[in-house]
């Protein structure tokens, strides 16, 4: 294919990425000119750009089309993941705009960095060779380091940024190191060539070595235990809208990327990677539930909750086959709204102008702010996986795929972990409903209540009723992609 004709097919399929890149660059210039007075305009444009990129992505084909001379691919999984990333990114960006405008921290870089991070994730989920994989991961991570250290005068925020940066740099190193092994033992960076080499049984122990290193790095990026150590500190230290962002879109990107890496180039090594993924899933589920029991800070608690939930999604990945990949995608789809809604409500927890983010601050919310309390309760029950909420359906789907793949013990372990994690979600609900009221929290803003209410409505009943459509969509996407 000539360079021109490659470009002419690639450009239209890369509109979402081009939109994000264009917005980020233009916004950076405008911001440099107008300074922080552009914050509101750029934030709103950013919401439109990120959501628009998600919508544009939906127009992509489900059958794989390679673009930019095979560096990237547009296929069902990429389309599905980009839509999720776009919408959750836009939602968290809107939350951040509302929050920063209220606290008077109107720095125009915020929408720029979010757009760049989302662009990085788009590249990640479309990666078709090891270079674009790495470029995507790094673009996302670099934007994330800056976001984590957003409140540079604040010790915890700076600590979060530094910690994130140092540990993440190590994992990027692992990713490159593993990639170099893969390249060295297969002779190619392209996923299809690696898949062919794996299929011929080439590579042997060196390839396994490279694969495991890459998995460790990806495990770090998605905060799967035992590579989760940065998560609680970063979640606690970063400003809450940034934490909300970290807890949503990057997880989807990392799960989609890991699925692609395991199912495309390394499909022939399922026996080897399945053990690793199962170990990651098991440790994440157990540690995510046990370690959260003693947390009192809501953001730290949600960090452990995200670790546990990634474990459940990984259970789907470990099951293998189209059903396993679809289960992981469905799990993330059903997990996102509850997560975003909870962070929206944590953002709303302010008392006398200062954030109030501990379990004790929730005390008696049901009497003081019954609507906020009801939404919080719904979202917490959803994320705990109690029926009839969407979170339960997600757990059901991954249990089902794990059992169908014969992985009984991990399904039972997941069930036990779910009970343990229910204990700490219940602790929050008990505080909301049973405890003597603490002084009332400030009235939440309309934007936050709207986000929380929309998220709650998605967890029940919208996504539950639409499960058939989501299932069909995810399964078609996966079947046509891999």
């Amino acid at each position: 294919m000539s360079a021109m004709s490659d470009l002419s097919t690639s450009i239209p399929l890369a509109y979402p990425e081009l939109l994000l890149a264009g917005f980020a660059l233009a916004a950076a210039i405008v911001g440099a000119w107008m300074r922080d007075s552009a914050f509101t305009a750029l934030s709103l444009l950013g919401v439109a750009a990120v959501a628009g990129a998600g919508v544009l992505a939906l127009y992509g084909p489900f059958a794989p089309v390679e673009i930019f001379q095979g560096a990237m691919v547009v296929d069902g999984v990429a389309v599905f993941a980009k839509a999720l990333i776009g919408f959750s990114g836009a939602a968290t960006l809107a939350l951040g705009w509302d929050h920063f405008a209220k606290v008077g921290d109107r720095r125009f870089e915020y929408p720029v960095l979010i757009a760049l991070a989302v662009l990085g994730m788009f590249v990640m989920v479309s990666a078709q060779d090891l270079i674009s994989l790495y470029v995507g991961v790094e673009l996302q991570s670099l934007a994330a380091y800056v976001l984590a250290a957003w409140r540079r005068d604040d010790a915890t925020s700076s600590e979060a940024g530094l910690k994130y940066f140092v540990l993440s740099a190590i994992s990027s190193g692992l990713l490159l190191f593993g990639s170099s092994f893969v390249y060295g033992f297969t002779g190619s960076i392209r996923f299809d060539a690696i898949a062919a080499a794996v299929g011929e049984g080439g590579g042997g122990i060196g390839l396994v070595f490279g694969l495991v290193l890459m998995l460790c790095a990806l495990g770090f990026k998605m905060s799967a235990a035992p590579f989760h150590m940065w998560t609680p500190d970063v979640y606690e230290g970063a400003p809450t809208p940034v934490t909300a962002f970290f807890a949503a879109a990057p997880k989807v990107a990392a799960i989609a990327l890991m699925t692609r890496v395991l199912y495309e180039p390394f499909a022939g090594m399922q026996d080897q990677w399945r053990q690793v993924v199962m170990a990651l899933a098991a440790i994440s589920m157990v540690w995510g539930s046990v370690a959260a029991l003693l947390q009192t800070n809501l953001k730290r608690l949600m960090a452990y909750s995200s670790i546990g939930n990634i474990g459940f999604a990984l259970m789907g990945v470990a099951a293998g086959g189209d059903a396993g990949a679809a289960a992981a995608l469905i799990y993330m789809t059903l997990y996102l709204p509850a997560n975003i809604g909870i962070f929206a409500l944590i953002l709303a927890m302010r008392r006398d102008g200062a954030p109030a983010e501990t379990v004790a601050d929730l005390a008696g919310l049901a009497q003081k702010r019954p609507w906020m309390a009801s939404l919080f309760t719904m979202l917490l029950f959803s994320i705990a996986g109690i029926p009839p909420f969407a979170g339960f359906i997600g757990k059901l789907v991954v249990f089902a795929t794990a059992v169908e793949a014969g992985l009984y013990w991990i399904a039972v372990l997941g069930a036990v972990a779910a009970v343990v994690s229910a204990a700490y979600y219940l602790r929050l609900i008990a505080s909301i409903w049973f405890a003597q009221p603490a002084p009332a929290l400030q009235a939440p803003s309309g934007a936050i209540m709207l986000t929380a209410a929309a998220s709650a409505a998605l967890t029940f009943p919208v996504l539950v009723l639409l499960l058939g459509a989501i299932q069909g969509w995810a399964e078609t996407a996966v079947r046509m992609s891999f």
């Binding site: 049901a366 309760t377 029926p387 339960f392 089902a400 036990v416 779910a418 229910a422 609900i429 008990a430």
Partner: protein, 503 residues
Amino acid sequence: MSELAAGWPILSIVTFLPAAGAILILLARMSARGDSPGYDNGVKLLALFFTIATFIVSLFAFAAFDPANPDYQLTETVPWAFGMNYAMGVDTLAMSLVMLTTFLTPLCILASWVIEKQVSSYMVLFLVLETLMIGVFCAQDIILFYVFFEGGLIPMFILIGVWGGERRVYAAFKFFLYTLLGSLLMLVAIVYMIATAGTSNIPALTEYAQDGGFSPEVQIWLWLAFFASFAVKMPMWPVHTWLPDAHVEAPTAASVVLAAILLKMGGYGFLRFSLPMFPDASHVFTPFVFALSVIAIVWASLVAFRQLDMKKLIAYSSVAHMGFVTMGIFTGTIQGVQGAIFQMLSHGIISGALFLCVGVVYDRMHTREIAFYGGLVNRMPVYAAIFLLFTMGNVGLPGTSGFPGEILTMVGAFQVNAWVAAGAALGVIFSAAYALTLYRKVAFGVIENPKLDGIGDLDAREWVTFIPLVIATLVMGLAPSYVLDFTHNSAEAISTAFAGARP
């Protein structure tokens, strides 16, 4: 009336009507802000209206239902996802439990009239709870069943925790986590069954299982997973310890629902799943269940005898009575199963009524301590008469609904294992001892506690609450055949399935 029900998704209407009421109350809360005078009363009336409407609609369903037909009836199916359906349908067993639920809930709302704290939240949760309880019995898809079964934990958790007594938070957690652990193990088993059988439809699964779809070795594991859930719900000894705590701390109406309906879900589960789907494993575990049942009957009766708290005494007596149910179910004989179903319905009414009786004096004196009372018959003759009737029902006096269930389960047990029947008979004697002692201490004698001097007899609301229960107890006791003929089909199907696997 049956023509009226034709063409309507009547089971869905019965199931979701209370939830519609809950939504209405929420909307009212949004507009009224909850501080206008008379608001709380309006909410209570709205809840009462919706529960009564649900009862009336369920009567239509009952009229449209043909008890002579052994199949699932009034079925509805809407495709959902992953091959699962929103499928509703009832057989005689389910129908009888649906009627019990819709019959008792309005009485619970009446009994909740004394609630003053966060009334609209309370009523919303109660109505949602009714939807979930009815759904459990109507669901024909095993996942849908699970959704209702487990979803019921949410409103119960909050009801106990907010409106309960002193140790309510502890009790709420214990209740939730105990039942959740059992249920999630069952969920893994359910997922396995769906994967193997390729269907989640309960009748289709039953057929698959009875054609030998699950080998006896697999059945053992599945049976244990289901047992983990139902035994906790039932509750059977030794996993019953959540029950006394939850009961004692729950508000009166929640205690009634807990004892009368939620406990029946365990028995319903055994009858719907364990026996028909895993008959081989059920045979293997029969001695085990018998042993637990007899221990529950004897031991819980003895523990009940030593209680100082009225609610705790009745809670332990529930554990004992549920022992009769599990014993009857696992005899697998038609008498045993019929007796178990009858006992479930009767216990629903009698234990519910007894908790209401405790509620009456608790509302007046705010203590459930047995020693506090004494001589109530002097001041509250009507109350004493009603309390006596239900005490006798609890003992299993012939003529009350407590008798046929107990005697049938024992007849069934005698055919299988005379020692088990003998052990259970011992429990009947003990039950007379604790129930009559309670009654003597509370009602008889002279009033010694000066605080009781001003206590008044039943008011009009309480009269209305008790009369339906009195009638139901006497009718079921004097003419048990109404119920037994009705449930005969289900009992026969279950005992045939069980007998088919007899080694």
